[in-house]
Subunit: 339 residues, 2 copies
């Protein structure tokens, strides 16, 4: 039996329930002993913690695809790390693993909260939380299965330089589409054009969005990959082509969905355009993650796919990290390096 | 050469452009000579003229799937009739035909505006404008291809006793679904239950819609066949199951779409439920009408599918007919019998 009694586990816990975007004030820290491993359990030392838009929904007390994090519990999050002790037959010390391990230094797992074993040891561990993690896998399945882009299609992406959006734009390009990115601020627009290969990019903050969409999408929009909802989406929807597909992947531009906010009714437009809006949740594709990761890793190795990370150093950065994401201050996939 | 000079053609023409639902005041009559048939043309004597919700869109000056009817032109509509003269190799006197022949006694056609040749001479001619026409074909393809009902699914239909809705409910039942109809008034609710075999029916006018939906859809909604938009749809959307399909087939409850009216934003809900909303236009299935008509006719002959018609007598009824439809006063597929 392994003894973990000498290890202390630092955790970021939910202190109070936010309405809308969680702020630093909603989180606190504690230190608890790492428990003994039971039979069938293994211990993960987290190296990187993930920060993503969905975490707002995980702490809000509104209908969602998973129950809210209880007050006092460790903040739910994805993390990537290394197995440092194991009483589980399938896991051994030194194995790399990604999973729903929470904002904490150590996580005990029986395998149920594992997303996947990280096999691509030639690539950086942190990539498992972004381009080779749920962001990349989301982009891959949501674009290809729901968006169904065809060569020559115009694909518009909101939060185009983000962890998911940047991957969507590049996959669409690999599939022979024309890509138009929408991002906030000149730096992100520049990143869209220079790093992520968009054919055009629009700064929704500084420009007249309708005019810019007309200029950059002269043949209309065949696929709209929506990470924002709100006024950006309303403007893009106006330009849908007949048979267009709208992938609803995130709703970052709307702070509060309880009650449902008002917006332009889409029914008549969907009817006239015979267009489709469909929500996407990556967890529905869990059995197929391997196929996406393999393809994404190949594109990374061949240089057809690039990614950008924004790494915060240490636990002290965690409480403000989700708010920072919603303020749009990150310049790549937002991660916390465990100190 | 056939001479048609002795025939006078009575027409219902668009006199002025309505905003919203066209009323009697927007139409007028004229009588014009039937022109000589050119080579490749044939003359149809219309027996029944169709009245349908889409006609509102055809006269409004808003973006639609076809350009608006010009002022002074014969009102666009489907009609069923008989060929009474022909200089076209494929058509001969006595042939039955359905097509976009307009609100007029006679129509000259070169075949381009024909919907289909009516082969099922054992069934009433008028059925070609309803259950064996675009209403039935719409119900068939929109439900089966877009709604994708599975046995045991709960299928909710708005305007459930209407020409399309009644057919949707019965096809869903044939496919092994539980069907819940929403209609306006006790008579229509009764018709849903007694004639069209719905498992449950709700009167949206007299009841508390939310409570009634909760009562009649205890397992949520898998397919919502939406003919209305507006508050009825807003209530049904709240009850979508994960993976639900919303077929947008009509928007009868919203009078004016220019500018787009406001309503609850659906993006977050579609995301959480991984649900789909998709517009349907029957014209996209034109090449496959035959397959639907054949199946629908077989269901009619075997008594598994029933329909109800509401026949107005004579041209004088035409100007008010669309408004009557939107007032919900018809008790079946609304038709005008040519006098």
């Amino acid at each position: 039996m392994l003894s973990m009694n000498n290890l202390s586990n630092r955790r970021v816990v939910l202190k109070s329930r936010p309405v809308g975007v969680p702020q630093a004030v909603h989180f606190g820290f504690d230190d608890v002993p790492v428990p003994e491993l039971g039979q069938g359990e293994f211990l993960v030392a987290n190296r990187y913690l993930s920060v993503e838009p969905a975490m707002r929904g995980w702490v809000n007390d509104a209908p969602n695809y998973s129950p809210p994090v209880p007050i006092g519990d460790v903040m739910r999050s994805f993390a990537a790390g290394e197995v440092i002790a194991s009483r589980h037959p399938d896991w051994k010390e030194g194995d790399r693993v990604a999973g729903l391990f929470g904002w904490q230094r150590f996580a005990v797992s029986n395998g149920a909260n594992v997303t996947r074993r990280i096999e691509e040891t030639d690539l950086p561990l942190s990539a498992a939380l972004g381009v080779l993690g749920l962001n990349g896998v989301t982009a891959y399945f949501a674009l290809l299965e729901v968006g169904q882009p065809a060569p020559g299609n115009t694909v518009v992406v909101s939060t185009a330089s983000g962890a998911v959006g940047s991957c969507v734009g590049q996959i669409a390009k690999i599939k022979g589409c024309r890509t138009v990115g929408i991002a906030g601020g000149a730096a992100k627009v520049d990143q869209c054009l220079r790093e992520f290969g968009y054919d055009a990019a629009i700064d929704y903050r500084s420009s007249h969005l309708d005019d810019e969409l007309a200029r950059t999408c002269p043949d209309g929009v065949d696929v709209y990959y929506d990470n924002t909802s709100g006024p950006i989406s309303d403007a893009v929807l106006q330009r849908l082509n007949v048979g267009a597909r709208v992938v609803i992947c995130g709703t970052a531009a709307v702070q509060n969905w309880s009650p449902w906010p008002q917006g332009p009714r889409v029914e008549r437009h969907l009817l006239v355009k015979r267009a489709r809006m469909q929500g996407f949740l990556v967890f529905d594709y869990q059995k197929r993650y391997g196929e996406a990761v393999q393809q994404l890793a190949d594109w990374l190795r061949s240089g057809r796919l690039v990614y950008r990370e924004h790494v915060l150093e240490g636990f002290e950065t965690a409480p403000d990290a989700i708010a920072m994401l919603y303020r749009g201050e990150n310049t790549g996939k937002l991660l916390i390096r465990v100190d």
